[in-house]
């Protein structure tokens, strides 16, 4: 067939991060692209597939005697999100209105207000099963990073629900509260209703950073509202922490579910979070240039977009360090001292092998994004001093769990001694509850028994393997343990020493 018998197909997807696949009559792919494709094909039947994650739309095409141009509105995809915002398939206007109202009218207010937290749990897939109620957050508390309770979340949302009866707010399908807080790092403790026994963790914990007021591009000093949205699955009644979405909005304006670019912003954010969570921009989640620009530009009104966007920049095969530095410097001005921004600075210095300025970065509290946290733990192995000894950031590193893109860890054991008896580690050689050989003495101060237990299991497994392999030259060092379990060096060394004692 000559070129004159070929016809051109041009298609633009919306969002621009969607993958387009053109397929022939047997459904074999003949052309692929992110956001846009342009190709020439002979006459015939084709299907054009637009896809993000498990969402896809298809358009059947008959190519005859003319070129075909498919515009973005013909291939439009919407994706679900816990954030009640436009451009998602799960927008609920009453939820959006409630979030906006609560972000401007806190349940607990102080004057002057230097920071605010809005936490909303939503049913986003329709209500098949019981709708969300205040008792779904029974046992959830907000603590400071010393563990002292600041707020009982269930009590707060009950009060908000009662107050909402006085307001023109529809309360179906959401529970929420908002409160003014001093800037700093707080911890939300989530009970785990599925905990199988006393020996497994009954709480998981998540850091919430209320940033200090920062300077906007206009030079104003702006306090921030941290908006946290969580989806509760009505069928399983579980809060899906992994799908949590976090936004930062200027306190005076509060949360708004719509602006001219909210559709693209949300889609870009979803793509970027997926890329950051997976640690690699695969073809499907690769961010288009447009998406990246939206994230980096809109950080001025929502610095969380900039934090996620900066991580996504680091995933590019060729990092644009000039852009990265500009973004991080702007973020430092917007949300000074934010641990995620400090972690980004540290990652930047480390990746560029640049020492200047590195020494003033000391992380005390865990960043909100797991990608930030894991990076600083890795860097601590290369050069000590990034994580403050004895800080919360050091203590919980060994208890991190995988929970989507967010930093979460299991709460310290309620009874560390029980865990140690289980492992014969109480130091009373030969007299432990289960018999057998006991190793080591009292647990070192500041290291959770669960971390010691994990380390013990790992070491035991490796030793058993070495025995089965007949390998007697196995030389284990603390860094092997640290890398395997994600422990910072100080913790790994102390645990290694403890477990290596005769």
């Amino acid at each position: 067939m000559s070129n004159s018998e070929l016809r051109q197909i041009t298609a633009t997807a919306f969002p621009s991060s969607a993958e387009l696949v053109l397929r022939d009559q047997s459904l074999a792919p003949i052309e692929r692209g992110i956001g846009r494709i342009k190709t020439s094909v002979p006459a015939g039947l084709y299907v054009l597939q637009t896809q993000i994650g498990a969402r896809s739309v298809e358009k059947l095409l008959r190519v005859a005697d003319a070129d075909i141009n498919i515009k973005r509105d013909e291939l439009r995809l919407e994706i679900p999100s816990p954030t009640p915002t436009h451009g998602t398939s799960t927008l609920n206007e009453t939820h959006e209105e409630a979030a906006q109202y609560l972000s401007q009218n806190p349940w607990r207010s102080v004057d002057p207000c230097l920071g605010r937290l809005l936490l909303m749990v939503r049913d986003i897939r329709g209500v098949k099963g019981r709708a969300v109620r205040p008792e779904d957050v029974d046992g959830v508390t907000l603590t400071d990073f010393n563990g002292d309770t600041i707020l009982d979340v269930a009590q707060a949302v009950r009060q908000v629900r009662e107050d909402s009866q006085q307001q023109p707010l529809e309360t179906k399908g959401w529970i929420a509260f908002s409160a003014d807080l001093e800037p700093g790092t707080f911890v939300v403790r989530w009970p785990q209703p599925d905990s199988p026994s006393e020996s497994t963790p009954r709480f998981i914990e998540q850091p919430i950073v209320i940033p200090s007021p920062g300077s906007t591009a206009m030079g104003d000093e702006t306090p921030w509202t941290v908006c946290i949205f969580i989806h509760r699955d009505p069928a399983t009644k579980r809060l899906l922490h992994e799908s949590t979405r976090v936004h930062l909005t200027p306190l005076p304006t509060g949360f708004h579910g719509w602006n001219d670019e909210s559709i693209q912003i949300n889609l870009a954010l979803e793509s970027a979070l997926t890329a950051v969570e997976r640690g690699e921009p695969t073809a499907v989640v690769d961010l288009s240039r447009d998406d990246m620009q939206v994230l980096l530009r809109d950080k001025f009104s929502n610095p969380m977009l900039g934090i996620v966007g900066a991580h996504a920049l680091l995933l590019r095969p060729q990092v644009n360090w000039s852009t990265f530095e500009t973004v991080v410097n702007n973020l430092r001005r917007l949300v000074p001292g934010h641990p995620d921004v400090e972690a980004l600075r540290a990652i930047g210095y480390s990746r560029r092998s640049a020492d200047a300025g590195r020494s003033d970065i000391v992380i005390e509290t865990p960043p909100m994004l797991a990608a930030s946290y894991r990076s600083i733990v890795d860097q601590e192995w290369a050069e000590r001093g990034l994580i403050r000894p004895g800080s919360l950031a050091e203590k919980v590193a060994g208890r991190l769990i995988n929970c989507g893109p967010w930093t979460m860890w299991t709460a310290a054991s309620a009874s560390p001694v029980d865990d140690l008896i289980e492992l014969n580690l109480t130091g009373s050689r030969g007299h432990s509850a289960r018999g057998g050989t006991a190793r080591g003495g009292e647990p070192p101060v500041g290291i959770d028994a669960a971390v010691i237990a994990r380390a013990s299991r790992w070491l035991e497994g490796v030793r058993r393997w070495a025995e089965s392999e007949g390998s007697d030259d196995l030389e284990l060092r603390p860094e092997h343990l640290g890398h395997a379990l994600g422990l910072p060096p100080v913790t790994a060394e102390r645990v290694f020493d403890l477990l290596s004692q005769p």
Binding site: L27, V47, G53, A54, T200, I401, R454, G461, R464
Partner: protein, 355 residues
């Protein structure tokens, strides 16, 4: 015969601590059949291990007696590793002929965003760590460079369970120096989502499969092959399985979307002929339509006659693909098929096509 190809297939229907599955063992058996078939994986019988638990459950079926267990699976993988490393030690060129298949079907979790971990039979909610993390095993072998090619498939859920301990293998890292390892990791579903089994009432229970395994086996047997070279490559297989499973589960609130990353595109097998899947679908013609209809796909034409109201819904078995329904008799009066001008997709069994 691919004498340095090895395979471990695991299928688990019965878990003392979890709901029983129905087709996981048959999934593994079918993969085991394909992998040993001369027109399939062509793996020698001695190099292929099938692990599927006892045929009948003993009276003391519990987490202590349940099988297969993690250590058994690791033992077989380790055994095959030693065999292949010994062969490569004798003849370094032999490394270019080495491949390891790992197929898992059963309950599963996702300990990491890029992993799919099969829960072994003795796992339960208190021992969720008894799992086989396929991506981690793949990474380990990639670093050890024992095999040149790794083809791992996991037809299991990828639920995120808060509190799951980080996956670990009791194997210290090994740094191999044989060369670049090619790999494909097929996960039945997206991170955090479920993998499902077919619920087709028209098919006997023994013939049902997990959606992923069904698509995988059909793809390997030729549905994913290039029509000119007849080769099934990593990329073509990944595309075929993803599309097929997405279509089959599109009716669900959360459609199942396999993820199948690979290190590079490489040949998996060459089939004797391309065999597209065939599905029985119901065509629904417009009210009052009567006449002869041609269903056109490439150069193939199927003819359907609609003579009365009773013919308005007709079942027909067609190859997967894009069709156009053309009214040829009568040919006057414009296009009778208003929906997409008579164009339609055939992508799954039991589909209803409104023309």
């Amino acid at each position: 015969m691919s004498d340095l190809h090895f395979s471990v297939s695991i299928g688990i229907n019965d878990y003392p601590a979890f709901d029983d599955l129905h087709h996981a063992v048959r999934d593994a058996e079918e993969f085991h059949d394909w992998v040993r078939h001369p027109q399939g994986g062509n793996v020698p019988d001695a190099n292929a291990k099938l692990m599927s638990g006892p045929d009948s459950l003993p009276d003391d079926w519990n987490s202590l007696s349940a099988r297969p267990r993690l250590d058994e699976v690791l033992h077989h993988l380790n055994d095959f590793r030693k065999q292949v490393e010994e062969a490569v030690r004798r003849d370094p060129d032999a490394w270019n002929r080495t491949r390891l298949y790992l197929f898992c079907s059963g309950h599963g979790i996702a300990p990491d965003a890029d992993d799919a971990a099969l829960l072994l039979a003795n796992s339960d909610r208190e021992n969720i760590g008894y799992n086989l993390p396929c991506a981690e095993v793949r990474e380990w072998f990639q670093q050890a460079q024992s095999f040149q090619e790794l083809l791992f498939f996991a037809d299991c859920c990828r639920e995120r369970i808060p509190g799951t301990p980080d996956s670990w293998l009791p194997w210290p890292r090994r740094e191999g120096h044989n060369g670049q390892v090619r790999w494909l990791l097929g996960c039945a579903t997206y991170f955090g989502d479920y993998a499902h089994e077919e619920r087709r009432e028209d098919v006997s229970p023994d013939e049902r499969r997990g959606y992923f395994t069904r698509a995988l086996i059909d793809g390997l047997r030729g549905a994913a092959a290039d029509k000119f070279t007849r080769r099934v490559t990593a990329h073509r297989l990944a595309d075929y399985v993803q599309r097929r499973v997405l279509h089959a589960t599109a009716y669900r609130m959360r459609p199942q979307r396999p993820t199948m990353p690979s290190a590079e595109n490489f040949d998996i097998c060459q089939v004797d002929q391309v065999r597209l899947a065939r599905f029985t679908v119901t065509l629904v013609f417009p009210d009052d339509y009567q006449g002869r209809v041609e269903l056109v796909k490439d150069r193939d034409v199927e003819t359907v006659q609609v003579n009365s109201d009773a013919d308005r819904e007709q079942s027909i078995t067609l190859e997967e693909g894009i069709y156009q329904a053309l009214s040829v008799d009568p040919s006057e009066g414009g296009d009778p098929f208003k929906r997409d001008g008579g164009k339609f997709l055939v992508v799954k069994e039991g589909q209803r096509v409104e023309l």
